[in-house]
Symmetry: D3
Subunit: 282 residues, 6 copies
């Protein structure tokens, strides 16, 4: 069989490329990174947001769309075989805001995926705030129980549950990435543990679309940081190996600010100050 497989090398083929990759929330920080660096994954990028997306470049298609608009989302998703779902509310907010963007928005997205002519593979930008109330001295893996630290975190638990249901019921595959802190560099000592470099994020998304069978994994989105709370061994099958480490920023951080004291929420909880914040009133 090995021999036979090797005989086929004369007929050179390209790795499977997506036809149309939708990026929601494309005007945001991570959206812009993905827009700039995921073009090679698909014949076309469809970019969506309700904020300004500038001009469409070659191979791009721009659709303005609010996620809470069911019919618009139906049209948005139609024909996409890949989705990187970064859209929605990206931090704590009053309930009404969270519900529109992250509750209704997610349901609209998956209903559209179910009814689309092609079944997309989905990257869902979940968050460490789905497990934020675990203490920093605890080690988590994909089987750890959720402990959301606010409405935002609750909405991410909701999104992961929707993804699980559409996978079990309709075979739609989703990678839920519990993103730590995806910035150019860590902005405080807690982020030395949660930091995810843009490069590692991009590498992860590339793997999600390259692996023949995705399933419905939960992945902690952090670089190969020295001080770590999260163990991705349950998803080693994806072949994602983060290459960056926050350690290169430690000296600079130490020179810039005091580390939090031992009882500061930024030292106690994985979700940091989200855990000590109250409810955002609408």
């Amino acid at each position: 069989m090995t021999g036979a497989a090797q005989d086929k090398t004369e007929e050179v083929r390209e790795m499977k490329k997506l036809s149309k990759l939708l990026i929601t929330g494309a005007s945001g920080r991570l959206g812009s990174v993905c827009r700039g660096r995921l073009g090679h994954l698909a014949d076309n990028l469809r970019l969506s947001d309700c904020k300004d997306l500038g001009d469409a470049r070659e191979g791009e298609e721009i659709v303005y769309c609010g996620l809470e608009d069911k019919d618009a989302v139906m049209e948005l998703v139609q024909g996409c075989d890949g989705i990187v779902h970064l859209g929605g509310q990206a931090t704590e907010a009053p309930w009404e805001t969270i519900r529109a963007a992250n509750i209704d928005g997610i349901v609209n997205l998956y209903e559209a995926a179910r009814k689309s002519s092609v079944t997309p593979r989905i990257v869902f930008a979940s968050s460490n705030h789905a497990i934020g109330f675990h203490e920093q001295t605890e080690r988590l893996d994909a089987n750890s129980r959720t402990r959301p630290d606010g409405f935002y975190g609750v909405s991410k638990v909701f999104g992961e549950a929707v993804a699980s249901m559409y996978h079990d019921k309709f075979g739609i595959e989703t990678a839920s990435i519990r993103i730590g802190s995806c910035f150019p560099e860590p902005a405080n000592h807690r982020m030395l543990s949660t930091w995810l470099s843009y490069d590692d994020l991009i590498r992860l998304i590339v793997r999600v679309f390259a692996v023949p069978r995705l399933g419905c994994p939960i992945i902690y989105g952090a670089s190969a940081n020295a001080a770590s709370w999260w163990d991705n061994r349950e998803t080693a099958y994806l072949g994602w190996q983060p290459q960056d480490t926050s350690e290169v920023f430690r000296a600079k951080l130490d020179a810039t600010m005091q580390p939090p004291s031992a009882n500061d929420p930024n030292a106690v909880y994985q979700g940091g100050t989200f855990c000590s914040d109250g409810i955002h009133e609408s």
Copy 2:
């Protein structure tokens, strides 16, 4: 110390009684059972529903209220030190129905609990449909991951996440009971494993309000059935020991209907036919 404690027996005191126990969904099947049998837990029962609740009996107070009405729920919860939350949508339904009753409804309830002058202890009627896609040959406990089998199941995962967050953030204690099939008797062979007798439900609720410290447990709501998928050992501290068993109905069931075939969803999945049902269109 033992001696000292025993010396106090001359001064006879009553076990701690609730002041006002709210039962939501009080006109429903389980609501009626609770209305009839939980009166001894509290000085007053406050009964709520949007359907007819008949006349208030002695010690009862009746409030008509839709759970999606934030202000009405705020008033409903005010002053209650116990809540048995049976209200909301109790089976699969179109998304809009689920969202109003089980998503907004839950947020309204917990926000009201947070703002109330007394902090209530809450029983949340969760459901086996939060874990419905696990196969019947699997054994689950409180740490098993959720696998909801529809919008209804997803809304129960959401409710448990809200309860977890309000416990971690504000100390509100909730018992989430993943109710199996709470009927006078099992209606099919799958229910031989999921059946929860009314008596065992009442015993469980009594324990939830009796235990000095509740925490935020997840409990599988099934009687002591012979064929069982669920293991409540993580919550043995509650002291709930179900007394009934579905086995007494097996012969009658066998005489009444064929057991499902091996590939029937009622034989494959813990959630039964919810798993094979499609999405309820609105």
Copy 3:
């Protein structure tokens, strides 16, 4: 739905009965017990052995057949929708004996099951000697690793592996029962932990054929003995609850014989003296 189900009671049906149940090794001790007490499970019993089976009673069919005879086994299994496989070598023996009866015999049985016009559900009489080298101070469940204590034990690991493969590949369901010591009463102190009453064995087999979906479970075949090494919680879904206990024989045993000393294989290993025995030379 409950109501609807109950309305069907006028049309009384019988529980699903097997058409033809094959019992191999039917002349042996357990075979005789099953012959006498499993008749109600099937329209017909097909009894097989290479030793004398006496006269066929009503509803019985007798087939003399060596398990190492591939063609004969093919014919034997044909048309049976249930098999209780007690045949083969039932204790340690030289390799050639074990191989013919328990290695070739098992392969012949499953190949026949695969090729039969109906797919049978199978009870496989595995043995505690598949895990015999675990110490008596260890607690095992269905996930514990195998530690066979001789060729006999190795052949049982083999049989369980064959059952697993035919389940994964062809959907044939098998209950592998790791039988402890199935006798009228325990014959020594070790058997106080391993004893399985005939009644509990029969109850287990009845459950195996009654459960709508069997899967491919591994079950420890022991009664509800006080001193126990084995935990069947992974297979609680079967609804088997042993009713007997070896404790009723303890006083008699104590009066009859000394318990083993602490370093006696009967006190050290779950497999008892099988662990200290050498290889049986052929």
Copy 4:
């Protein structure tokens, strides 16, 4: 083999009886119970304490001895093939008191056991205070980590470590019983979970001396109480099945005293008020 074993019944023998059973701390509450009810286990009881032990009854031998006296303990243990070690300091105390009785005392006891002409089997009265800082909402088993709640608890962790070392190094077998609350009846609501009846204690000790191979188990000493934190499944091989339950005292307790509030150490920690107590100054 079964047949052979049964043929031996004409030669009736007695169950193995100890020659000399030492009970330390024999003048204390549990010591008195054991003195009165363990006589049948041995030809002779050797009773030891530094407080008054009254007159020796038939089959009894009385030795006054402080556990911190190495030579006296050597003599005390000499010739005993069983020890129930209840001696030492039985509640929190200043360090010097704990050290003499529970640190030096334990070392003296095991050194004497090692040097004795017969190797005794030992029951070590450990305590729930070895794990007292676990919360009451946690379920523990024999593998849970220790969390002592004071010097007394630390001394029990020490004793269990000594027992483990002498077992691994010299083969001396010890049953460490983490006694909950061994009183005639529970004296407060926490004890509804920790209560161990005298009868269940005696049954456990009898099993420890009856089992052919003991090993070095850790057993939670609590009756079959409804509300339970402790899971003894790892030591099911001992065959100890507690028969009593604290539930029969609940109504009386409820009538006698208020349950603790949710933040009372008696409601939060398994060790109760030991956890909130400070260090006992010497």
Copy 5:
């Protein structure tokens, strides 16, 4: 002690070398690799196969021998203190072929090892097909249960069971290596996860013979591939750290062939197409 150990450095000794290392299946692909690269482990290599082995080189001894020939195997093994057992049937085949080579063959080998004048340490070439029916989204370690994907896989479970029994009963140490895909390079996308380089295989065998105490470990034989299903942490004591990775071949593979689709057995099961193949008829 450290000082004393260091004082001995004047007396330079060689690391312990095997006297005679038997390689079975020495004419095969892996056999040839081992023949060429393991010579330094032993004073002599004894090479065995039933196919042509060419001329014996210096330090080599050639023995033609079928594994199913009990007496010949007895002679073959005699005097060897190391065995690398690569012989037998190396892929799926009809039952009769598997049985002769991999069932009888293994029993003959271990019986010969038991009766030999020196007790050999053994490397057993087990296979990923012993666990082939696990899905590729699952992470396995040495404690995962076996799920063989055909007669070949079943024979490997059998071999591991025989190794376990001879270790427990007679102290013969075996390293069972569940070889993934040991080729010069991966031949398809599944092999990006299962690939084992020749260099890493040799490193592993060297460690097996170097470690002072081997025990009876199960090791997954895969290089340090990026996308991995197998976790060797239970056998970190061996000190084997694979150095190669299949990642260097990914681009070439992607250029050569399409990855399998999501429902292709090569994307679903760890055993790949072995899982979808039927039984090989004899």
Copy 6:
């Protein structure tokens, strides 16, 4: 928030430095290493031992003090906000020696810490001999049960228990490091698995004092050796990543001495010859 944090960079601050770091056992081998290399962690080093400490260098303070002297230890600890506790008996010894240095000594240290005007963070030099009776084929992590191999090992279990109690009760944070073999290089083959380089020890201590919240972790003190028994994943949050490996010494060791035979305690037990040694008589 990120932006805000970055704006603070104009105000450059130093990383939090200790005021006074106490090193006990400062004249010993590890004490000397720490004395020479931890000066940068604190404004002042207070060095303590009962053996000669030479002259105080700049920034050093020398205090002669026996750990068994309660009042002296009280004074010694006063005012220190960091302690590296290397003092006490560092290998097996008669009980009286162990008790004075490692039992009383530890209690004195923690009582002094509790009563000090500042609460110190503590590094406790525990030992692999706390778990020495585990076999070398077992993998341990922070949750594995203790199996001490002598009085020395028992005293380390005691010290860890004291640390746990003072953390739970008074919030004093301790890092218990189960040091393997901390020498310039491994002195025998067992130490290839247990070796901890001086550099890695220093890196670990630096991390213990740098991490904002320490908790009360148990860390295995071994370098990144190829052959390893210990898994520090539970304490990955500390950010300690050992950089050295014993592998660089293997060839030299192999040339110097024979590896132990398979039944040598140095090959069987993690604690090596401590396990086969008897009790040290006083």
